[in-house]
């Protein structure tokens, strides 16, 4: 995807309304389709909309390997697999990658340990995932370094999205095929699931309130002076 196009997409919907900032931290990863699902109370176990039962079990184990249970609950207890299933089912471009990637992970587990990924112990999970995670971190670091340059070539042409319910929908993003022999498949899968797990966990009640200790959204008679001492 060329630079101009990438910037144009990034700007959609961000300038006109509230001058939001283009931070990675301001966006939920992988959600290009913006739907408002009704607030429905949970009734009974969740039925995945996209993943089959085996895939969902592998996904759940992977999410919990990324954010495990410690003194606070992990990804599964926080409902992260449900979140990931929802996002992937609503955003078709992730589907081939998620499916092929989970199949690859399961295959690796069988090859290396002759067991399902869901049956690996923590040391085995680490052995399998660490090199992939390291590669993801390396790519991110290189991308950050490459950003120290200013884009001056070409004119940026952009629109601000009109999201009136009556306006025509934006064209669908064409899913990129994720062939099983894509050498980058493990890294792409891990990046996708890690990003979705982080978003899902730290926006959950468990992750935000219990783990991180969020205590805002309340009334303060006055804003307190800082009492934290450095060092």
């Amino acid at each position: 995807m060329n630079e101009t196009r990438r910037h144009a997409i990034k700007l959609l919907g961000t300038v006109g309304l509230t001058c939001a900032f283009p931070f990675a931290g301001d966006e939920l990863y992988g959600q290009h389709v913006h739907v408002t699902l009704a607030q429905t109370p949970a009734t009974g176990p969740y039925t995945p909309a996209f993943f089959d039962a085996a895939e969902y079990a592998t996904l759940s184990s992977l999410a919990n390997a990324i954010i495990p249970t410690t003194i606070t609950p992990g990804a599964v207890a926080a409902g992260v697999p449900e979140y990931i299933d929802r996002v992937v089912s609503l955003n078709a471009e992730h589907q081939p990658l998620a499916r092929a990637g989970l199949a690859w992970l399961e295959g690796q587990s069988q090859t290396k340990f002759s067991r399902a990924f869901t049956a690996l112990d923590e040391a085995q999970q680490v052995e399998l995932l660490q090199p992939i995670s390291d590669a993801v971190d390396r790519q991110q670091r290189d991308a950050q370094r490459a950003r120290f340059r200013t884009e001056t070539a070409g004119t940026l042409v952009y629109y601000v999205a009109i999201t009136d319910k009556t306006s025509p929908a934006r064209p669908a993003v064409v899913p990129r095929p994720a062939p099983a022999n894509d050498p980058d498949l493990p890294v792409r899968l891990f990046r996708l699931i890690k990003n979705l797990t982080a978003d899902g966990y730290y926006t959950s009640r468990v992750g935000l309130l219990e783990e991180l200790g969020y205590n805002g959204n309340t009334m303060l008679a006055r804003f307190p002076e800082c009492t934290i001492r450095e060092q």
Partner: protein, 519 residues
């Protein structure tokens, strides 16, 4: 058709609301035409929602069944002031006179002393908190007491001071003490999702509602203006609109027309209002309409401050940013013109999207995110853009919205000055953050446009500008434009306070002309 208004204002945000209220106090009869519905800031926004209330964790702006702020044009009575962050900064003489001071950009046809009395009026009327810092490039005003800085602000303030820069208390149109009609801010932390007690200024509650009660102002909501009507005698006689809900057309007539639709939409409306006399857009005999588009550019940095890592999480959302890095480059040697400032700690803590950028996985990863949570900040510098011929706004007639209106299109190209300024502001930001003991999580891709300014530039020469120093169009003697589009130069400062001051100033001018029978 409604006929007998003195002034028809299109748009009900900071400019339209201020203007309507000031005119109404002088007994002027005003029609305020707004494309969106009425919105109740006390009940209609998801101000206190949390992400886990929603299956995809996206918090919708409006509560179920409520309409309004779901489009580019911020349609709703009150405009963008319903969701703004309320930063209220005065421009300085140096901001207004870039060409005089350093031969770059354009001078405003007015001076700081022309604007200062109106900044005073707005500050007294809406309530702006802040500290009097005595800085030449960030003029002081009549402030309510400032709000304490956050821990992270103080760390960055010390780092900035060691490099000779000043971090000051933010100046915001949010009450730090109660007024007769509005309570003080209680720091629930989500100003940009609406303010359900109106401690933060919004034009609907603070300016428009009292003006309507006076009987002088009539609000036409859900009326999307598609054209300014101009008579054969070259007088603006009113506006033609499409009703947002039932799609029927209507007109509002008056003796004076003011466009206050926010920068790009005012430009688009003039471009849509073509006639035999104005084939290239109304008030565009100069060909300058849409030219000199000069949005602010930003390049935010995310980081973790070592001094706060691993500390207990505190409730420090406050009213979003509490501190501001004042412009300091005007007096330094540099290889570019103009300057930058920065907003600090803009985020609320209901989301930790930055956790995606933390290395690793498993227990170590989880512990790193937890330690980083109280230490995370965003540092967002804003720079001034100089106009260039490649940066302008026009209409894309092949791309229409649900009402059949052509969509506005922004063309933007950064010039050599923007490149140099952007690189320097990122370099300075990183230097300050480094002194503050920060671990950098992300740096910007490149300059990103923000507050939209320019396109109906104010000037003395009708050949090179669209409106005069009173915001009146050179071409049509009873047509005005008052919003960010009239800025001849942008400065790096958030523009709303200046837009409101311009509206208050224009209200006096229009009232005077109505009295003299000139309109």
């Amino acid at each position: 058709m409604q006929n007998d208004f003195d002034v028809v204002i299109v748009g009900s945000g900071a400019s339209g609301g201020t203007l309507a209220a000031h005119l109404a106090r002088q007994g002027v009869r005003v029609a305020l035409v707004e494309g969106g519905p009425r919105v109740n800031t006390r009940t209609d926004f998801n101000t206190h929602a949390m992400p886990f209330d929603f299956p995809t964790r996206q918090i919708p702006t409006m509560r179920p069944g409520k309409e309004g702020f779901d489009s580019e044009r911020s349609r709703g009575v009150g405009g963008k002031t319903m969701l703004w962050n309320a930063v209220a900064l005065r421009l300085s003489q140096r901001d207004l006179k870039g060409r005089t001071f350093e031969g770059a950009g354009e001078d405003w046809p007015i001076d700081y002393k022309d604007l200062a009395p109106y900044y005073d009026v707005i500050e007294r009327e809406v309530g702006v908190c802040g500290n009097r810092d005595g800085l030449e490039d960030l003029p002081d005003g009549e402030f309510l007491p400032p709000v304490p800085m956050k821990c992270s602000d103080q760390i960055i303030r010390r780092a900035a001071e060691s490099l000779g820069a000043k971090v000051v208390h933010v100046r915001k149109a949010t009450l730090s003490v109660a007024s007769k009609t509005r309570p003080a801010c209680h720091f629930c932390g989500n100003c940009m999702a609406g303010c359900d007690v109106v401690a933060k200024y919004n034009s609907a509650d603070v300016h428009i509602a009292p003006a309507e009660l006076s009987g002088q102002v009539t609000v036409f909501h859900d009326s999307i203006v598609r054209e300014v009507i101009v008579s054969d005698e070259n007088r603006a006689t009113g506006v033609r609109y499409i009703h947002r809900v039932h799609k029927r057309e209507g007109e509002v007539r008056g003796r004076t027309v003011v466009l206050a639709c926010a920068c790009v939409q005012s430009i688009a409306l003039l471009m849509m209002s073509t006639s035999r006399r104005y084939p290239n857009g109304l008030a565009n005999s100069s060909g300058q309409l849409g030219r000199h588009f000069i949005p602010h550019f930003t390049g935010g940095i995310e980081c973790l401050l070592e001094g706060l890592a691993g500390k207990p999480a505190t409730n420090d959302e406050g009213f979003l940013d509490h501190a501001y890095l004042a412009s300091f480059m005007h007096t330094r040697k540099r290889n570019y013109a103009r300057s930058f400032g920065a907003q600090l700690n803009y985020q609320n803590r209901r989301f930790a999207g930055w956790a995606k950028t933390i290395n690793g996985f498993g227990r170590t990863y989880k512990a790193r995110v937890k330690a980083g949570y109280p230490a995370y900040i965003q540092f967002t510098p804003y720079g001034e853009m100089l106009p260039n011929p490649q940066s302008f706004v026009d209409l894309d007639r092949d791309r229409t919205d649900a009402f059949g209106l052509p969509q506005a299109r922004r063309h933007l190209q950064w010039g050599a000055n923007e490149e140099a300024l952007f690189n320097d502001m990122v370099r300075w930001s990183l230097s300050m953050l480094d002194r503050a003991g920060a671990e950098i999580l992300s740096v910007p891709d490149g300059p990103a446009p923000n507050h939209e300014l320019g396109g109906c530039r104010m000037g003395r020469d009708p050949k090179s500008s669209v409106v005069n120093a009173d915001c009146r169009t050179h071409d049509v003697p009873n047509l005005y434009v008052i919003d960010g589009s009239v800025f001849p130069s942008a400065s790096e400062k958030n523009p709303t306070h200046t837009i409101m001051a311009l509206a208050a100033r224009a209200a006096e001018h229009i009232t005077e002309r109505l009295r003299k029978g000139e309109l």
